[in-house]
Subunit: 331 residues, 2 copies
């Protein structure tokens, strides 16, 4: 039996396949999928947090070693991570899918299933979207909206000299996982799983905002070095990161070292981990630790301190090295 | 001097170029471009209307005869048209741009300028977005949000047998304009201008919603036949369109006829006009006409009636022909 491709179906049929993966519409959704736009009742007494992010085939994923379910999961997770960085609770998403004609309908379904599963888990509802064919690569563009109480939204701008710097989970795993998938040999699920199905730290972000424990926050989509540079620039502070304190995923460390690389420099520059980096005023660290105990499931590590020096440095056993610049040319 | 391409700049530099085209942020925007997400104060006592639409190079436009400014304008206009169809006032937009490395920075700027000019005109603010490089075609994906009072949102679902069917402006011009641009010979600005710089009927949509004059509404992105079919299906009615009443743009009619085509069938099937098609209960037609006088600038024509027959037909001097099906295969 020859495979069926998205080009063999009508737009309405594809939309129906998406809807079959979605739970019943919530009460706040007046008009959902199937009209010119979605109509939504805003959440009471809360600010709205909006973000958009696209995954592009050949740039952000390779269909040869990224299962379709992982593409859907990742496309939503990177957006959830942006909401987490602002301390927002996820609410709704719009999907804009740019589909090559030769995308198998089996892969289309698996991609939607991966996305819908994560959406249900994070209590986010898909309220609308757009499908278009493309002569080029698969593009999964998602807009998400979440909510946060007034004066509780986190941003990159609130850090002050003296604030301590914390990092959730571990770094390096996703980049090592991607390298393993590309190499095609033996791989470690701790790393490949992290690349293919990243966790967004939604509960941590919401908690850090609700307790006013964090003074600033950013998610590490492009790696620790990039995130630290951006947060420091937005807040107008310097940051000193203690290399020895960095929670590098052990399997990733072994992978980097097996290739003869400096594991710390590799981990610091590697993206796709989607951990949260946030700062806390010294007098609020106790409150933060209490809050983290409520959360339970995610380890948070103190990795540095904000300074008035306006420089971002990596402290390697007392030797201060300039942190690599996350900013790269666009092309 | 060799041209500069987007690949020669950093993401931050491209974002700064976008910001240079935008007006100062409105008071309701707590956090704008430059953080992980935008933070917005919802509009008081209004529902939120959300839509997303993508323009893909090679599918929706051809860079050889579509100036960059028109790409930006059209990408926003198609989204504004969705808001108009719901009766919503535009409020904000998020831009997700998927950029080929060989896009000249001059074209990038012109595209943003075309988009920003329309945004200012329609009082819509760009609050955030995402830039990504691509090995494929240029994709301009825009999410818009607007607002509408409770119980005033229009949808495709409210038409009843007996309701009269109205159409704004004229049809056929955009499709004829696109054919002229492709042919490359003599063209008429009434048609090419309509294709390149479509008007979204925002004021008309808002007015039709505010006066509760319209019982249902849809925008004609894929042509009259497609729109009528969708509205009829969503409302569970039939629709009879009077071919003689259809306001076909005269230059488009001449163009279609010069090629030996049936101008009515061409106009009915041609997309990209972004007119509004809406239905009005017979007893509310007077109220509708009064409201339209306030608006002034857009002609609205009665083109048909909703029936209980569940069929969509084109009445050509008494001969009833089935309306062509808008639904096409996706590929």
């Amino acid at each position: 039996m020859s495979p069926v491709y998205v080009a063999d179906l009508t737009e309405s049929e594809l939309v129906a396949r998406i809807q079959s993966h979605l739970p019943p519409p919530p009460a706040w959704l007046s008009v959902g999928i199937g009209d010119d736009a979605a109509v939504v009742e805003p959440a009471r007494n809360r600010l709205e947090v909006l973000s958009v992010d696209a995954l592009v085939e050949g740039v952000h994923f390779d269909r040869r070693f990224t299962p379709a379910g992982a593409i859907g999961h990742r496309a939503l997770a990177v957006n959830l991570s942006d909401l987490a960085a602002m301390g927002a609770e996820p609410r709704l998403a719009l999907l804009s899918l740019v589909l090559p004609a030769d995308l198998a309908i089996r892969d289309f379904d698996a991609m939607i299933e991966g996305l819908a599963k994560l959406a249900v888990q994070e209590r986010l509802h898909v309220v609308g979207g757009n499908l278009t064919q493309s002569p080029g690569p698969l593009v999964v563009d998602i807009t998400v909206s979440g909510t946060v109480k007034r004066r509780q939204a986190l941003s990159r701008r609130g850090a002050r000299p003296g604030d301590l710097v914390f990092l959730s989970g571990s770094i390096g795993a996703a980049a090592a996982g991607l390298q393993m998938l590309k190499a095609g040999g033996v791989s470690r699920e701790t790393c490949t799983g992290r690349y293919l199905f990243p966790d967004a730290r939604v509960r941590l972000g919401v908690l850090a905002a609700r307790n006013r424990a964090a003074s600033s926050c950013i998610d590490l989509s492009d790696g620790l070095a990039d995130g630290v540079q951006r947060l420091a620039a937005a807040s107008g502070v310097g940051i000193r990161i203690d290399a020895a304190a960095l929670p590098i995923e052990p399997d990733a460390r072994r992978w980097f070292e097996s290739k003869g690389d400096d594991a710390i420099l590799e981990a610091v520059d590697s993206g796709d981990d989607y951990e949260l980096l946030f700062t806390v005023r010294p007098q609020r660290v106790g409150r933060m630790r209490t809050a983290l105990k409520q959360l339970g499931d995610v380890i948070v590590t103190e990795v540095g301190v904000c300074t008035s020096a306006k420089e971002v440095v990596l402290d390697r056993a007392g030797e201060l090295c300039p942190m690599s610049l996350g900013y790269k040319h666009f092309g």
